[in-house]
Symmetry: none
Subunit: 143 residues, 2 copies
DNA sequence: AACGGTTCCCCACCGTTCCCCACAATTCAC
DNA sequence: GTGAATTGTGGGGAACGGTGGGGAACCGTT
């Protein structure tokens, strides 16, 4: 069993909008999965426990904080709970597919506590940006 | 048993994308190996324990830090866990081979806590740069 | 109650990957 | 110098994982 999500996987979306979760991670979604919008115009897939703790964190923020309110709208309004089918796939609702601009292909990447789903073109652009800034980022992070 | 990785080894990549780990280092990868993108457009190979500690460090960084987000995408998305086969080889996934521009040949070098895999041409260029700057670098480092 | 549409579940195919065996070349020992 | 062991390389077969599609169950509507 994996402790952190990592890796990059090129998967397809079929005509029913189904996306396969990488086989090595399926065990982490036995208790359910939640799909949400995420930063960079991609989607995030959370195992149920991680989703709950993220939710608890958000709920603690004061109702009067405008930033917290916007973040709630961003995250909660798009949240979609889904159990993977017998083949380890989950169906992405159309409004989330539109947000992430997903057509027939997708790149699934592991990112610590969640998976991310990117349209392949956007992922290449993100990677290019990352490579351009990596030296400076490392310096900032002190690694 | 070596404590630090060092040395330079010219190996080939076969048609299945398999790379042989130098025999003297194979004992360090009994618990598993992780291949990632690395600086200079090469790949890094980490023994599982070293990777875990690097991973813990990354996971601790705040979700909101853009530099940390980019670094996660660079490192975690590129990370590929693989156990060496019975011959001490591991398969490099195609997206990592593309990143490092690897075709049929590779140079494996030891670098303290990890191995690096370079396309031979890039490695020669890196060596040339190193030799050109070595005197000044030593001065800066106070060695 | 009947119908159309959607969603869910299951089965089957196919490509890839993994694992094992075999060869060749180099190194090491005697 | 000769033999033996180790190392790097290649290939074949079996298992696994991703994909597509068909049929049953479930919804809302007429």
């Amino acid at each position: 069993m994996e402790s952190y999500f990592s890796g990059e996987f090129a998967h397809s979306l079929d005509e029913k909008g189904r996306l396969a979760i990488p086989a090595k991670f399926r065990g982490r979604f036995k208790e359910g999965a939640v799909v949400t919008r995420w930063l960079g115009e991609c989607l995030a897939i959370w195992p149920a426990p991680e989703w709950t703790s993220l939710n608890d964190d958000i709920a603690k923020r004061p109702r009067t904080d405008p930033a917290a309110t916007r973040f709630r709208h961003f995250l909660l309004a798009g949240a979609h709970e889904a159990d993977p089918d017998g083949q380890g796939r989950l169906t992405l609702p159309s409004h989330l597919r539109e947000y992430a601009n997903l057509q027939n292909a997708a790149v699934v990447i592991g990112n610590s506590d969640h998976l991310e789903v990117w349209e392949p073109g956007r992922w290449r652009a993100e990677l290019a940006k990352v490579q351009a800034d990596i030296a400076g980022d490392l310096k900032d992070l002190g690694i």
